[in-house]
């Protein structure tokens, strides 16, 4: 869908060479005819469009690796990008052919007056069955993104140097990059064969492996999306509009200038009237639209509403599943300024189709993660193209060339490139939030990995892992987390009961504020059999862990937003990930926090908090004592008190120095009282089970804390106790202690 390449086609031994920006660097001296009368190299223009790229499996049960590839052949440029999705193959489900998605924008050609591009036939790639389609796969299978970093095209062979950005499914971020080479050969019969799409064969060299690949052309556009329009009564979606040049523009034709195949479908046009709309009302309309999402085809909801202040339009959807809807406001009025076209002055947008169409295309652009140029970190020029605010376009209008005649109904080069080549998570509605991807894609350099990407593991079906952590903490504060595994399937599941960071089944994947990824584990690692527990449908197991001091040292020392995902090997075949949670780490904000932070940020204190014992570290003992006595009202002080209680409840022998520390039960009890004072039974036991080392199921602090709580419980009849405040709290505490020893299905 670019301008046809106006450079001559290469002869069999001449190369077209494109640099890292995709621009041609060495055009051929002359063009020569293809020598074979029946089979020859494809003209470079035939490469332009959307392709399904597949890695040919090496074995019957190799992971399926496939995804969309976009080749943009410009007048003097060639750019390639793609998004790869991997899926594990199972014994009963060997690798099969890729089935085109059912939902395709072009499946409903009657919905819009525009027709498919005429150059389809020119390419001799005629495949009315299936129609043009855009490979799209489940987000959970996303594996990596690539873009070209230089390319050559000679004698029908396209060689592309690619930069690969590896995707971490757990954190939903790109984490590293590496480089590879894509080689595809395109030869075709000079006699057009209807139905069969153009196919290229070749190799992909990356991560030290060479794979056989196949690319099948799916469209002469690059991407496609179905736009579902709802309208409020008496407000009209502008199906077409005459623009300044005198041409007729449609939603579809404007997106076609950016290589997008957009199909507009009008659903409801009788949404009840409401003179003024809030974001919440728009969100409810979006969530209640009658057309359910089906398949993996891209779709966007566009609403033609009344008014929201003086806005022309808004991309209002920025929730957990963002960018699925946008709105334009038909009642908003243009001004009576002299730079507004006479017929449009003081008119509602509903009466000015060109202006309203521009706004609706603009808002949809936001849903595809495009920014206003004046707010874009890449600082493109402010001008008259689609993604400029109407106010900015009017700034370029004059009485001789008034708005909307002066507007350009095209996307700027910057936005066009983003629409064609930015990664799927950035562009596809419903994936990453608005604004994501406008900085650098990732940080750090990767270790080479194989062509399957970082992970070939599928999301677990029927199991849900939930991770809970505080939303914020200060540097040096004691931090705990709760992990819960739930069977959401229909049948019983045998799963590990080792919900600790010390025994290998559970690991936290943490992304630091600067983008580095690390694996967070306990400082003490145990090895042993994997005890299983049966989870009936709807049942869960739960455990609590400390994440203050881990294999990373003090885990959260860097201020800023950390993202944490729990990864659990639930059984031998199933890995399950939690949704990412964020924890904002801040600098200490009060004198008290500064004092605590200064005491906890030492290795000795950290180890004591992680192991539940200060061992022979007398310096750590002194600090923990001070924290317990001075700050027991905080979780950090209470955790310190519990470490002291645990340590002093038992003896300790330093065999190397031949020294023994005897148990001091009275001192231990005093520290236990400090930890319990003013704290709920549930929280006290939560802290106790987290300071106890996960590998020491008999750590005295857990049993002692529970015993003290039971002892403190008011004496009364069982019936009265059941009504007494705190009884439920004690019961909850007992469950937590029980789960520490062996998580129970509940």
């Amino acid at each position: 869908m670019s301008e046809p390449c106006n450079c001559p086609e290469p002869s069999s031994d001449e190369a077209l060479v494109f640099d890292e920006d995709g621009e041609i660097v060495r055009p051929p001296h002359h063009a020569g005819p293809v020598t074979s009368p029946l089979l020859g190299p494809c003209p470079i223009g035939a490469l332009d469009g959307s392709w399904l790229l597949e890695v040919v499996p090496k074995t019957l049960f190799s992971p399926r690796l496939r995804g969309p590839m976009r080749i943009e052949v410009g007048a003097s440029s060639l750019r390639v990008s793609g998004d790869m999705y991997s899926q594990r193959s199972h014994v009963l489900d060997p690798v099969g052919p890729v089935i085109p998605p059912i939902v395709s924008p072009a499946l409903n050609p009657d919905d819009d007056a525009d027709t498919a591009p005429s150059d389809v036939a020119d390419d001799l790639v005629v495949f009315p069955l299936p129609p043009p389609w855009y490979p799209s796969f489940p987000k959970s299978q996303y594996s990596w993104y690539f873009r070209s970093h230089g390319a050559t095209y000679v004698n029908g062979t396209l060689t592309v140097q690619i930069v690969r950005h590896l995707w971490n499914r757990a954190t939903q971020e790109f984490v590293s990059t590496d480089h590879g080479t894509l080689v595809l050969t395109c030869r075709r019969s000079l006699v057009a064969i209807a139905i069969r799409p153009l196919v290229m064969q070749g190799t992909l060299t990356i991560g030290g492996t060479v794979s056989t690949i196949k690319a099948t052309k799916t469209s002469t556009f690059y991407r496609g999306c179905r736009i579902e329009v709802d309208a409020m009564v008496n407000r009209n979606f502008p199906a077409s509009a005459t623009i300044g040049s005198g041409a007729v523009a449609t939603f579809r034709s404007i997106y076609a200038t950016a290589g997008w195949d957009v199909t507009v479908v009008t659903d409801a046009i009788n949404i009840p009237n409401d003179a003024s709309l809030t974001n919440a009302e728009l969100a409810v309309l979006l969530s209640s639209q009658p057309q359910p999402a089906t398949g993996e085809g891209w779709r966007l909801w566009l609403f033609v509403g009344s008014a929201s202040g003086t806005l022309f339009g808004i991309m209002f959807d920025d929730d957990l599943v963002p960018r699925e809807g946008a709105a334009g406001f038909a009642d908003a009025r243009l001004s009576s300024d002299a730079v507004i076209a006479a017929a449009a002055r003081n008119q509602p947008l509903n009466n000015v189709p060109a202006a309203f169409l521009r706004t609706l295309v603009h808002e949809a652009g936001h849903a595809f993660n495009l920014f206003h140029p004046k707010h874009d970190v890449h600082q493109p020029a402010i001008g008259i193209e689609i993604m400029n605010q109407t106010g900015d376009v009017i700034g370029f209008a004059s009485t001789a060339n008034p708005y909307p005649n002066n507007a350009a109904f095209v996307f700027s080069d910057h936005d066009r490139t983003s629409l064609i080549h930015s990664p799927d998570p950035q562009v596809r509605p419903g994936w990453k939030n608005f604004g994501w991807g406008h900085g650098s894609l990732s940080a750090g350099l990767p270790a080479p990995v194989d062509v399957g990407g970082l992970s070939a593991t599928d999301d677990a079906n029927g199991l849900v892992l939930n991770l809970s952590m505080p939303q914020q903490a200060f540097v040096g504060e004691y931090v705990t987390a709760e992990v819960e595994l739930t069977n959401t399937g229909d049948g019983p599941r045998h799963v590990t009961s080792l919900l600790t960071l010390a025994e290998g089944d559970l690991v936290f994947l943490r992304t630091t504020p600067n983008g580095a990824l690390d694996h967070v584990l306990d400082v003490a690692l145990g090895c042993g059999p994997r005890p299983l527990v049966v989870l009936q449908p709807g049942q869960s197991i739960t455990n609590r862990v400390q994440v203050f001091f881990t294999n990373q040292g003090v885990t959260f020392t860097m201020p800023g937003r950390h993202t944490v995902v729990a990864q659990l090997e639930a059984d031998a075949m199933t890995t399950v990930y939690s949704e990412p949670v964020t924890i904002d780490i801040r600098t200490p904000g009060s004198d008290k926090e500064v004092t605590i932070s200064a005491k906890t940020l030492t290795r000795g204190v950290g180890r004591a908090l992680a192991l539940g014992d200060f061992a022979n570290d007398e310096a750590a003992r002194a600090v923990l004592t001070d924290l317990a006595e001075s700050h027991a009202d905080t979780d950090t002080g209470a955790a310190s008190a519990l470490v002291m209680a645990n340590s002093l409840a038992r003896s300790f022998t330093d065999f190397r120095a031949d020294r023994r520390r005897n148990a001091a039960p009275k001192e231990a009890a005093r520290f236990l009282d400090l930890a319990l004072d003013g704290r709920s039974a549930e929280r006290a036991v939560e802290l106790a089970v987290t300071v106890a080392s996960p590998t020491e199921k008999d750590a005295p602090v857990v049993a002692d804390t529970l015993a003290r709580i039971r002892k403190n419980r008011p004496k009364a009849s069982a019936r009265a106790r059941a009504k007494a405040d705190g009884t439920a709290d004690v019961a909850s505490a007992e469950q937590i202690a029980e789960d520490f020893v062996a998580p129970q299905a509940r």
Partner: protein, 242 residues
């Protein structure tokens, strides 16, 4: 067009992080008359704020939802001012703008006219530890932040907004009342002779339903009788120069 224009952020008193901060910003004409954008608010996209935090990080505060809108212009005579109110609650990605207590520096930039951006001098803001941790936690919730900014209830924010209704400051109570559409109760609770409270209500309303932009919003009509006698408050509420 922008000769001599000055953007001034009014200093704010220290405020716990469990309360909402709204700052007033004024655009002041110099010795010449100027035609400037009247969109001195976060919503319409001409105004942006940078906040430097105690940990050395800079956050950007703009309206979280991209919008399209008409330009609005106003003529400022020499010495005249235009006032706007800034809801300093969330970053452009709807995270808390002031995540922890400490000293912050706030700088505003306004596109007064095409190619004529004007920036304020940096202003220090001290955020102190919360009076109520529950309220502080509520103000870290994305749905709550977006609800306060949009003056409507988004997602699961309703319970959190109710918590904010009992806040110590008029500003926080006003923003939550706007989101929950309980403006009548709010007006009844404000002493019209208490200049400070009235000024806070006007600033909070102007921050999320600014004059000239949301004039037709019925909640503004409910607030209007409360608008004080002071010229600046009237001008702020109406988005008109003074």
């Amino acid at each position: 067009m922008s000769a001599g224009l000055q953007l001034v952020l009014r200093a704010a008193a220290p405020l716990p992080i469990d309360e909402c901060l709204v700052m007033v910003v004024t655009l002041e004409a110099g010795s010449e008359a100027s035609t400037v954008s009247a969109r001195l608010n976060l919503i319409e996209g001409d105004l942006a704020v940078a906040v430097d935090g105690p940990s050395g990080q800079t956050a950007r505060c703009v309206w979280p939802w991209p919008v399209d809108a008409m330009p609005r212009w106003v003529e400022l005579a020499p010495g005249q001012r235009l006032a706007g109110a800034l809801p300093l609650l969330a970053t452009d990605t709807s995270s808390p703008l002031f995540p922890s207590p400490g000293e912050y520096t706030v700088t505003a930039t306004f596109d007064a006219a095409p190619g004529a951006a004007v920036s304020s001098a940096p202003v220090s803001v001290r955020r102190t530890p919360p009076d109520a941790e529950r309220r502080a936690a509520v103000l870290r919730e994305r749905d709550v932040l977006q609800s306060l900014l949009s003056a409507s209830v988004l997602g699961a924010a309703a319970d959190g907004l109710v918590v904010l209704e009992s806040s110590r400051t008029t500003t926080t109570r006003t923003l939550s009342a706007l989101a929950l559409d309980r403006v009548v109760d709010l007006v009844a609770s404000v002493d019209p002779d208490d200049d400070r409270s009235v000024a806070d209500v006007v600033a909070a309303v102007s921050a999320v339903l600014p004059g000239g932009f949301a004039d037709a919003d019925p909640r503004r009509a409910a607030i209007e009788p409360l608008v004080g006698r002071r010229l600046e408050e009237q001008a702020l509420f109406r988005g008109a120069p003074f």
